[in-house]
Amino acid sequence: MRRLFKLSLQKPELVSAVLLIVLALVFQMSSNAAFLSLDNMRGILGLLPETALVAVGVTLLMICGEFDLSVGSVFALMPMTMAVLIVGGWPFWLAVLTGLALCAFIGFLNGWLTIRFDIPSFITTLGMMFMARSMTVVVSGGFPPRIKPGEVPSWMFVGFVDDGNLIRASVLWFAGIAILIALLLARTNFGNWIRATGGFMPAAAAMGIPTGKVKIACFMICSVLAGFAGMIQSLRLNSFLPSIGEGMELQAVAAAVIGGTSLAGGIGSILGGLIGATLIRVIDNGMVMSQVDASWFKFAIGALTIFAVVGNAWLRRRGRAMKVETDK
């Protein structure tokens, strides 16, 4: 029993999960029960898969010990590339695959440059953030491409799947991908390598793990997820703008960190990233619903980020200090 308690104290997503429940209840009360209403849930569930996909990718990469600031730009570049190709006469699916391949290539470049020249990924991806954003504008040619509704099968990604018009296909896409990535991290040898690489690289390398390749793979997964998320958002809004996803990179890091992921690598969970992203959306939406001045949104996210990290570190220490026999 004590052992179980100790283990749960060391769960990185614990603080944020508790906070999420508390906040949902608070907003429910302060908004006169409008917060958990179907209409409002529809709004939250529309936007959530998009930001959460990015957060999941960034979480995975951070567990591996690296960082990606270019996700916001890739979020815009992928749908823009896809839209321009479709307008140019390409079939929808080929345009999607080409867009995702471009994201994978950007992720590969991020990783390869970081490893090959042994520079901080903060720098590599900061550069890539500017470059990818600029490419988005260049590709668009200054005029956002127009795609008529119905011309592409957007329903496959953003159409409602239930009669109550509550859940979009994007929620299912997200759930499927998130479960896949969570299983990859928790149940496969590759997940073991990711944690070992982020946890203590010299040991991982000495045990023969190809740490460079593991990191590059994580960079690629992160970029592809960001691009895919951007595509979903663009299809939902049915507009392809070069400016979407700005500021998203830091929100994704905040989501990961709020969900218990360590900036130093090795600690974190996909569920945590999801909870973190949900918390950010809930705060954004709940403040509006409770008629709090929305200018306080970023303040709240900032405070929450710091609080979550401090809280997590404290709980982890408490958990570790709890005496449970390991030696007979």
Partner: protein, 243 residues
């Protein structure tokens, strides 16, 4: 005389202009416990890094069981049965004992292209058994390695090497940063290896530790071997003088 399990011939290594190994030729016989001593910068670690696949020699040959081999990375070394245990580098503190035991060599239920699903039950059961085999008793394989003492960590690392049936165990300063009691434990582990027929190379700059568990002493200074004698025929004083 039987074929030495490891033989190096005239190994040379330069590190950015420094001649770190100047023609090292060494034979390690099967089953012996070899103590490798020397001051910092004597070339011990360079020699070990070559044998464990972290670095490659600039010239010279390495033979394992009489076969000329090319150790390009740690995986190669492990495949040849050479396992290295570093002073604190061989475990990820944030991961559980069972995960650490199988890092890089995870048993899989099924896999596609080398990536697959872990057989976690086997990992747990086997690591408990492996740890018990080296006379270390830990209650749970799910405990984090970071919660273990330094001596226990070395015990787990040795258990890991034993589990994978390593032929040669290279222990790089395993007693650094350990208390007297823990050091005694690690020296006990090394003695246990000999009893099980595993060859070991014990690197340390603490002569007492080396003399406590090795039957042959090799001393290095300035990238060369300066002394190579059975432990019974030399003394701490003689070795110290050579360094």
């Amino acid at each position: 005389m039987s074929t030495p399990i490891i033989e190096t011939r005239d190994l040379h290594k330069w590190y950015s202009g420094v001649h770190a190994l100047k023609g090292v030729s060494l034979k390690v016989e099967t089953g012996e416990a070899l103590g490798l001593v020397g001051d910092n910068g004597a070339g011990k670690s360079t020699l070990i890094n070559i044998l464990s696949g972290l670095h490659r020699q600039d010239s010279g040959e390495v033979l394992v069981e009489g076969q000329l081999t090319d150790i390009r990375n740690p995986k190669d070394a492990m495949r040849l049965g050479l396992e290295t245990i570093y002073q604190y580098n061989s475990m990820v503190p944030l991961m559980s004992i069972s995960r650490n035991v199988f890092i890089g060599r995870e048993p899989l239920k099924w896999s596609i292209g080398g990536i697959g699903v872990l057989d976690e039950r086997k990992m747990r059961d086997d690591s408990v058994k492996a740890i018990a085999d080296v006379d270390l008793h830990l209650r749970s394989p799910d405990a984090l390695v970071g919660e273990l003492s330094g001596g226990q960590r070395q015990g787990v690392a040795i258990a890991r090497a034993m589990h994978f049936r390593s032929k040669v165990m290279i222990l790089d300063e395993p007693t650094n940063h350990l208390s007297v009691k823990e050091t005694a434990k690690v020296i006990g582990f090394v003695k246990g290896l000999k009893a099980q027929g595993v060859t070991s190379i014990f690197i340390s700059h603490n002569m007492h530790h080396v003399f406590a568990c090795c039957d042959r002493i090799v001393a290095m200074a300035l990238g060369q071997i300066v002394l190579d004698k059975p432990a019974a025929e030399t003394s701490i004083e003689e070795v110290s003088e050579k360094l």
